[in-house]
Amino acid sequence: MQSKKSSSRNKGITLKNITESKGFTAFTSVLLAIFLGLIFGFIVMAFAGPQNVFKGFSYILLGGFGRFGDVLYFATPILMTGLSVGLAFRMGLFNIGASGQYTMGMFFALYVGFMWDLPPEIHWIAAIIAGMVGGMLWGFIPGIFKAFLNVNEVITTIMFNYIGMYLVDMLIQGNLVLYLSSNARTNYLPRTVQLPSLGIMGSNVNVGIIMAVIIGIILFIVLEKTTFGYELKATGFNKHASNYAGMKGKTNIILTMVIAGGLAGLGGAFAILAPSAIAGSSMTYEPINIIAVNGFNGIAVALLGSANPIGIIFSATFISFIQRGGTLANLVGYKPEIIDVVIAVIIYFSAFAMIMNSGIGRFIKKYIIKKPHTNILLEDLEAVEEEIEVQNKEAE
């Protein structure tokens, strides 16, 4: 029986083969997670204002279609931070520091944009690269700490979020070329450092999204097709076995953190260098001591995308889509704060449902949840979630 079965494995694609394939189960679990998230979001919305809940919710669900340019525009930074968190996650590293790396990326990009005199054709490209370098630096340091001193990267990256944010705020406020103190924001960037727009009416969508998607695809190829990806995933799954197989754990940790930081830094650069629809203006940075929320959203994006770069491209678009639609819900009387909460509930419930389905979920279910006195990890996760929510609200 056994041999017959296995020899028939190459023959044809049956429905069973499809439903049992890895990709299919991953896909269905994402849909299920999103569905759960939407239900919870709907419940919260119904509590907040039952009169218009169907109307309001349909804005959230469908409103994004009318503003697809904006959906892509807002998806760009969270796509990059999502890739950053997702890549590190595949290596078994929890990069909470995408925010700090993102902020450093913004600063480096701004600095090159304002302080360097470069030919207009390459100025914006130089600024993007600078942003990447800034992020890389902010990933490199926690990477070093992890590799050589075995300091938990969660702790260092959280610390580096704060260090990066305060440092950037200080550096910007101290630089009179960058900073316009009367308006408490940076100056308008010259046109030559802004990214070329895609020319969709009424939207800032620009080449950033195209680059981000290409980067996502490249990352996918790196992870699935190269020896580096093989090592990275192997280390993420089982660091003892990867060590036994002679992989250079330390180098790989540092390299992964550098790449992850670079990705988040690029996100920051794409965000700050985006063209403004209003002639003569640009995106600006306000040094108001707040950690960049796009970094945290990257965690949700990565989880919802199962830490798979292609999945992350879709999850970033989805989250941006829901957020754009949400902004329309105040047409039927929902306060922006309520909408933010509903959106956050949708995103984090979906992401959380994803975790429960994934490897961590299995771990949590098996060892932690059942045991009343041992739910440390779960509480930790919840604390992180809560912090994200708080940050989310603060940022608005």
Binding site: T227, Y230, Y244, A245
Partner: protein
């Protein structure tokens, strides 16, 4: 009608690409030790997992005391008094032994953990059954043998009456096995029922009342042990006769391939050194066996030899090159293959497919990659070739997830990978652990063929039969030292036992002089 405590009737369980259990019936009497026998991948673990609620069967029913029951998860099983020691332990590494034993059934008053009572009960059980443990050691720090004892205590602590042991003896020393078999008999005498999976026919003959045999997912039969023989059991299991004697040609030994000089390795558990100043050579064309009771420094020595840990002093020379401080990759390239002791911790990436695991040591070689891109075709071809050559069985061939493979087939995959890789020295730590008799025979032949090809083999084994039959030279380790060098042809198991227990030694000096 017979009085069965558990009846598993017509159980069928499928996995992608394979029917792991095909209409299997197993009846367990009260107070019996019931053995479950079958080749690697025959479906034994699957069957007991169905009983323990880890899997749900597609067809068939389970009855307890004649009444049909539904077992949807291990908690249900526990409520029915069914406990299980898994083939691969399920202990929480960062908890202590005691915490693991009481996990999930912690005694508490108003939510406060009452560890003292639990400790007392655990230590009583430990004393009663001779299951020696250190309740405060962390799981990640203790030997596999002690982890196993913790698992058994976990079951006894829950006062289960149906006890499932999935290959408990595969990881134990001969002494521990003896003790465990006695414990099983005692438990059966007390009226508990024991379901016992093993590949070792001697153990079945010694301890079991009845034995059920599976082959390739099918039920072959149930026999009374008193009416059967080892030979008959193995014939039922494999469908052919197995030779229990190993044939070895005489070969001449060549030059030294591995030389260990005054190696000392610190211990992680205590302040003393785990390995104290040991020296020996392995020559091409010989199988040197490092024998000893588990926990006498073998694990630490092998870790240092293979580069997983550092030595504190001494030198290791492989094929003329000093590799004492070399990286693991360098050692591997210089000609060391390593079949590790713990297949799940070191040997496999369980979330990788079989083919990905088969190139774990070689993915970076030009054969399998081109400018950093993996050559999937080459990997697939290579994997298919190894799978065929070493008879690695799985549901979906090269793309099967390693996690879903049976324990014995996981082991075969590791062996295939390490033997097939270029090497001068093969370090094999308990290579036949968990393999069925047919596979053991095959692996022994492979080890001998390595030797006949002029390679050196360093075998670490706890199993006396294997030590005596396969090796050309035996080094006995006791408390971190080599206390004797024996010729298997001129010694007896009894004498070996005396050395292993530290009762006898020929001084290390003599060995040094001999070289």
């Amino acid at each position: 009608m017979e009085n069965y405590i558990v009846e598993m009737l017509n159980i069928t369980k499928e996995f992608p690409g394979i029917i792991a259990n095909d209409n299997i019936t197993l009846n367990l009497k009260k107070g019996e030790v019931h053995a479950l026998l079958g080749e690697n991948g025959a479906g034994k673990s699957t069957l007991v997992s169905v009983l323990f609620g880890l899997y749900q069967a597609e067809k068939g029913e389970i009855k307890k005391n004649g009444k049909e029951v539904k077992i949807n998860n291990p908690n249900d099983a526990n409520d029915l008094g069914i406990g299980m020691v898994h083939q691969h332990f399920k202990l929480v590494e960062i908890f202590t032994v005691l915490e693991n034993i009481i996990l999930g059934v912690e005694p508490n008053t108003l939510g406060f953990l009452q560890k003292t009572d639990a400790r007392k009960k655990v230590m009583e059980l430990s004393g009663k059954y001779g299951l020696k443990i250190n309740p405060d050691a962390l799981i990640e720090e203790i030997s596999i043998g002690m982890q196993q004892r913790a698992e058994i205590l976990k079951m006894l602590y829950r006062e289960n009456e149906i006890l499932i042991f999935d290959e408990p003896t595969a990881v134990l020393t001969p002494q521990e096995i003896k003790e465990l078999l006695k414990i099983m008999r005692d438990l059966a005498q007390e009226g508990k029922s024991v379901l016992f999976i093993t590949h070792k026919l001697n153990e079945i003959i010694e301890v079991a009342d009845r034995c059920t045999v599976l082959r390739k997912g099918k039920y072959i039969g149930t026999v009374d042990i008193k009416d059967t023989t080892k030979e008959e059991l193995s014939r039922m299991m494999v469908g052919r006769d197995i030779s229990f004697n190993i044939e070895k040609k005489l070969t001449e030994v060549k030059e030294v391939v591995l030389s260990v000089k005054n190696v000392t390795v610190p211990s992680k558990l205590h302040k003393n050194n785990a390995v104290k100043n040991i020296s020996f050579d392995v020559r091409g064309g010989e199988i040197v066996c490092l024998a000893g009771i588990d926990g006498n420094g073998q694990t630490e020595f092998i870790s240092a030899l293979t580069g997983l840990e550092k030595v504190s002093s001494g030198t290791i020379i492989l094929g003329g090159k000093d590799i004492t401080k070399s990286s693991i990759r360098k050692r591997s390239v210089s000609g060391m293959s390593h079949i590790p002791e713990d297949r799940h911790k070191h040997g496999l990436i369980l979330d990788y497919s079989l083919e990905e695991n088969l190139v774990l040591q070689r993915y970076w070689q030009p054969e399998f990659q081109n400018k950093g891109f993996i050559r999937f075709h080459a990997v697939r071809n290579y994997a298919e070739c190894l799978i065929k050559k070493y008879d690695v069985r799985s549901g979906q061939g090269p793309i099967t997830m390693a996690r879903s493979m049976s324990g014995g087939n996981q082991q075969k995959a590791i062996i295939a990978r390490e033997i097939d890789k270029d090497h001068e020295v093969l370090v094999a730590v308990q290579p036949t652990r968990g393999l069925d008799v047919g596979a053991v025979e095959y692996i022994h032949k492979q080890l001998i063929s390595r030797r006949d090809c002029g390679k050196g083999v360093l075998l670490v084994s706890l199993e006396l039969d294997e030590v005596m039959n396969v090796s050309d030279r035996i080094l006995v380790m006791y408390e971190g030292e080599i206390v004797g060098e024996l010729d298997p042809k001129k010694t007896t198991v009894q004498e070996l036992g005396l050395y292993m227990s530290g009762a006898k030694r020929n001084t290390v000096k003599e060995i040094d002089n001999a070289e």
